[in-house]
């Protein structure tokens, strides 16, 4: 019951996105309450990444609106941090781990101003949090996939946002890194932040998340994991008979 009293962090109304006439997201209404750790699940091509990107204004929707704490996203940008898919950038770019994390401070710096001591300190703290401090001077191409993912996470942490959007942060990382990342996400939730994660591994949903959204072009269901994470919704989303044993 307390959940319902909570503020709505992100509200999506009638969001429709299409690539060349083919709808990728169809009329999505979504309310994400503050302080949840939410998974977005759905098959490939269901529009999970597209949903996040449209909320963040990276993609232009055909219709619909997004509000963050009741105001338009443009006004609330500094409350939101984004962790893109690891594969979306060129890791051969000539820069170091610390430099990438520092990029998280660029938003609050604004145009032209350079990051100084304060920003460097914040970046180092974030690196420490993700356990990457020993690698701060490392060229980013020489980091492992899991380490690159942690760098991305640190870059978002530096932004000190209230809402975090993460696009498949567990993709291609080993078990140790996965646990390290999920622990950080749980800490964020404990601090009252809202975390939204595009997720692929259905088995771990009940263990990692407390809120879930099923998506397949249309929104299938959204709500607390313990209420709606069931075979019925999974079947509706994935189109085949899905059986996941959920331990209570």
């Amino acid at each position: 019951m307390t959940k319902q009293m909570k503020k709505i962090a992100v509200k999506v109304d009638d969001l429709t996105v299409a690539y060349n006439y083919k709808p990728v997201l169809w009329d999505i209404d979504l309310e994400i309450p503050e302080g949840v750790l939410m998974a977005i699940v759905g098959p490939n091509g269901a529009g999970k990444s597209t949903l996040i990107k449209s909320i963040l204004g990276i993609l232009k929707p055909i219709a619909g609106s997004v509000t963050i704490y009741g105001k338009s996203y443009e006004k609330q940008r500094q409350l939101v941090a984004y962790v893109p898919q690891k594969g979306s950038v060129d890791w051969d770019f000539p820069t170091t781990a610390l430099d990438v994390v520092k990029m998280g401070t660029y938003g609050s710096l604004g145009w032209i101003k350079r990051p100084g001591q304060k920003e460097k300190k914040a970046a180092l703290e974030a690196l420490e949090k993700v356990g990457m401090l020993p690698f701060k001077g490392r060229q980013i191409s020489q980091l492992s996939g899991g380490q690159q993912q942690r760098i991305f996470l640190a870059r978002a942490l530096v932004q000190n946002a209230s809402i975090y959007f993460m696009d498949e942060p567990f993709q291609g990382v080993d078990a140790t890194t996965e646990i390290a990342i999920i622990n950080i996400l749980k800490e964020l939730r404990k601090a009252g932040k809202t975390v939204i994660v595009v997720h692929h591994d259905l088995q771990t949903v009940p263990e990692y998340f407390d809120w879930v959204t099923f998506l397949n072009v249309k929104k299938i269901a959204t709500g607390p994991v313990k209420d709606i994470f069931n075979d019925d919704n999974l079947t509706k989303t994935y189109g085949i008979n899905y059986k996941v044993s959920i331990q209570e």
Binding site: N20, I58, P84, M103, L109, K113, R114
Partner: protein, 344 residues
């Protein structure tokens, strides 16, 4: 200098397209003014270069075509149009017409003092803009989507970078010409990338390589008759690239090979040592001597590896018997634990 940005954006061909797209601008500027003043011609080049660039961007965003298709299309279209205009101009009864084709391959010898000053000033402006927007350029190059979420207007940054690349190209046209300009833009940057992992150093090195190839190229062509400057400059820049590819310490082919061989040798030593350790472990006394023959079953073992182990004081040889020393035993015992921590 600005070439670094083009290389990192994987838009290397853009330079080629821009320089070719500049040609009709030069021709049209000549047709309109009827004079061969290099500044007016360059303004024409600048305008048509910019038009070409933004058409390419338009094609990529509005249609399904990939960027290389769009680049190729615009490149040949503008170049063809430019050639058409050039031949048209050559048929005209205008004494000034001669020498316009120098823009095809460039002719540094035709540069006059005012041209050089012009170049210096524009380079200075580029430098200032680059330093001012360094942070913005860098983050856009690395992660454009993320830059957008931080609240930067990525289009503005993008247009700024592109405009300055166009400007740099147009300026270079007089020296090396339409056909070779893209090499001038990219070669120093590609060479610089081999030597460093820092964007700042890369840009700095690219500037130096570029300037150096300019000076050396001009010097070589001046010392010989019948060597035109532009191609020589590009060739010098090419030498930089080849040398960088082979000799750069971290990314170069030569050092990669050396590292590979060294690693293999090290591994051979480690393997032998580990095997000896295994045998030695079964005895109370670690320096218990064993026959060399024992190692024969083992593939990694050779006389020379054994000799090296002796040099490192890991193993003692007595006749055809070997035994591990104290240090050898400890090193071998640590071999695997050390390796597993290094993997982390």
């Amino acid at each position: 200098m600005l070439g670094s940005f083009a290389v990192l954006r994987k838009q290397s061909l853009l330079g080629d397209a821009i320089s070719h797209a500049a040609l009709p601008g030069i021709a049209i500027a000549f047709l309109i003014t009827g004079a061969k003043d290099s500044n007016t011609l360059l303004i024409g080049a600048l305008i048509s270069g910019l038009i070409g660039t933004f058409w390419i961007r338009g094609i990529v965003t509005k249609t399904h075509l990939k960027s290389d298709t769009a680049l190729g299309l615009i490149l040949s279209l503008f170049f063809g149009f430019g050639m058409l205009l050039l031949t048209f101009i050559q048929k005209q009864p205008n004494a000034n017409q001669a020498g316009l084709d120098k823009y095809l391959f460039g002719q540094a010898a035709t540069l006059v003092e005012s041209d050089v000053w012009m170049m210096a000033i524009v380079t200075g402006i580029c430098l200032i803009v680059m330093l001012t927007f360094w942070k913005e350029f860098k983050i856009l190059l690395f992660d454009a989507d993320y830059t957008k979420t931080l609240g930067f207007n990525t289009k503005t940054i993008d247009i700024l970078i592109t405009s300055f690349i166009v400007l740099a190209i147009v300026l270079g046209l007089q020296t090396v010409g339409v056909v070779l300009m893209s090499a001038m833009l990219l070669a120093p940057a590609a060479a610089a990338r081999q030597w460093t992992n820092s964007l700042a150093v890369m840009v700095f090195l690219a500037a130096i390589f570029g300037a150096f190839s300019g000076v050396v190229g001009t010097a070589i062509s001046a010392s010989q008759n019948n060597l035109s400057t532009g191609p020589v400059i590009v060739l010098v820049a090419g030498v930089f690239v080849v040398v960088s590819f082979i000799f750069s310490p971290s990314r170069g082919l030569l050092f990669k090979q050396i590292r590979f061989i060294k690693n293999r040798r090290d591994l051979e030593l480690h393997k032998t040592l580990a095997f000896m350790h295994q045998i030695a472990e079964t005895h109370e006394d670690i320096s218990h001597p064993h026959a060399i023959k024992l190692l024969n079953n083992f593939q990694g073992y050779t006389r020379s590896t054994l000799q090296k182990l002796v040099e490192k004081d890991y193993v003692q040889l007595q006749g055809n018997m070997w035994s591990l020393t104290e240090t050898g035993f400890d090193t071998a015992a640590n071999l695997y634990t050390k390796q597993s921590t290094e993997d982390e």
